[in-house]
Symmetry: C2
Subunit: 391 residues, 2 copies
Amino acid sequence: MCIKRETLQHNIRRTKLLESLSSKKNGEKPTGRRIYRKITILLFRPENIFYLTNFWGEGIAILSEGGSPIKLVVPKLEYTRAISTSRECDVISSERGTTLINTTISMIKDKEFVFSDSNDFDAINKIQSKTGNENMVIDSNLLYGLREIKDTKEIENISNASKIIDKLFETATREIKENTPEEQIQAILVYEAMKLGARFPPYQYTTNPLIIASGPNGSFPHSETSNKKIRSGELIVIDLTLSFNHYVSDATRTFGIGKITGEMKKVYETVKESQEKGIEHINNTSNFGDIDACCRNAITEANLGDYFTHSTGHGIGLEVHEPPWIKPYSKSKIRENMAITIEPGIYIENKLGVRIEDSLLITKKKGKANDSNDGYSFANFHHFSKDLIIL
Amino acid sequence: MCIKRETLQHNIRRTKLLESLSSKKNGEKPTGRRIYRKITILLFRPENIFYLTNFWGEGIAILSEGGSPIKLVVPKLEYTRAISTSRECDVISSERGTTLINTTISMIKDKEFVFSDSNDFDAINKIQSKTGNENMVIDSNLLYGLREIKDTKEIENISNASKIIDKLFETATREIKENTPEEQIQAILVYEAMKLGARFPPYQYTTNPLIIASGPNGSFPHSETSNKKIRSGELIVIDLTLSFNHYVSDATRTFGIGKITGEMKKVYETVKESQEKGIEHINNTSNFGDIDACCRNAITEANLGDYFTHSTGHGIGLEVHEPPWIKPYSKSKIRENMAITIEPGIYIENKLGVRIEDSLLITKKKGKANDSNDGYSFANFHHFSKDLIIL
């Protein structure tokens, strides 16, 4: 029963994707039979392959117009696992590397129009030499139009990931003590998360799964969790990113330990106000640039604008960072069932950092849409307090 | 003192890299002053940037001939961390994404000859539009010639990572029990590893840091650690990959639990013999293809050749998988201070898997080189038993 529902869901996604791309072919119309060429979609990125096949691993997925199942070309060592986890796919075994790409290319029919999510220079050159430049669209955003809008099952997974994060914040309040190394807190939180079924999505720019950044380390937005010991009188940024059934949640709280200065409290309250205003502003606007501006203004008004050195947020889903982007001047429209973060921060070099972040779901507004809002509101995936907790 | 030594090490690497590329410029000779154009190297991959700058994070490194320090272009949010961790770099702050690449391009001087490790289609197209195709070499293997040969400090890091793995195998023998879910073993091992300072390098094709594959799951070489409970009478593949100070070690042992069949024992002994013969063969050959053949022959002789579905091994270092590749027909030369894995396996669908893997260092032979060997031997980073342990 469960498998059937999942298969249906994957088939709907495949159909939607093909439909959405049909209109994008250099002005060709799906109606004029004579000029109409079929579409082939080549997917290289594991998140996209998983989204359409349920297989997460190394391989290339080939989706063609005409109703035949997806072809999934995988390295020999992944063949049986791909058969066992994929849904309605023809799984084809190949050698790794260049051979995998060549096997795929040999399966593209002449005169077909090819879309690909690859940004791999060598692979694209090889494919273009078969299809010709003019018959190929390279677009790493190919699936985001679909993936941005989460279905019930996806929301449930993000919600479960979020509940684990909230539990970890509770644990952190018990484990943060003077002289405890940051990496010890990390080890405890990772252990607890894994026991609850969480996993840690790969992010190539860090080797630490979590950010535990105390005192001056907090001034690095992407601090590397270290063996530095937590000291009394410090703020500690705890940024937790984890996944449940492949779906990511991302949230941050900043705690204090011992005697916290007036400046620290002021910075904390500024970030908190900025974050809360930004979230509430979902009720009053129709695009993400406005949310960014709202968070940024609150910090600028406190004369701390220069210390907010990154975007306000990002989409979450099969990746930690995916569209929509909540950044300055973005005109991206807010839409129902998007899952996003809102995470302003203030970073003062050699001194401290404060960040507060929630993962949120965009919902339909219960009341009426107003002039500047298309009728959307939000639900917060997290329930852990945002008041400054001093340990 | 420590910082000085590290700086020296980074400078030596930079000089070696520039020298190695000078000769690769479309036949230009560094001597003929008139036609000689300076070289610029653009590095995008975090491992390569770390190797030359000590900064691990998002950014682009620009190394030019002429003795000026590396320019490190990083997103604004990474600026202070890059300054604090990089060695002898001019750190430049930029916005993320396209702007980061544009900032970099604006710093390439006219008529310079550009090498890049990027395989990013969009980035390469942008750079080529500034430099022209003919003045650019795209080569994702750019640094491997240097990185393949490990120095004392790198070997020490791999050795420390290996010691942690050996400890985890001990832990596994205590924790593997009937009815224990695979993911519970994983959580315990990850916790112990992190307490010892280990980290888990990202690998985009899986969301699990370790492979704990029991019974039929063992037949997937890249099995996803699951909530499946371990049963009596099963073999359990424990494949541990972790890093210490960014350097990776990788080793696998297969354990039994309860009553193990004669077939299981035969498969185990075949893999063990294959792996041990392959390692010993380092003393008798000068290329990696021969090592692969040696491991493969031992399995084929037992009429199980079809069940060994992957390569024999790979290099380890800042990445889990990097050159040299120990695969069929490889002519890659064995050289001193390479760090590699040797990991044959047998996988029987719906039934079982056995893999035995060590990380090894290529050393200089104490005795004399013989006809088919260039004078190299090996040291095993691991000391955990390879006999079949039945729990």
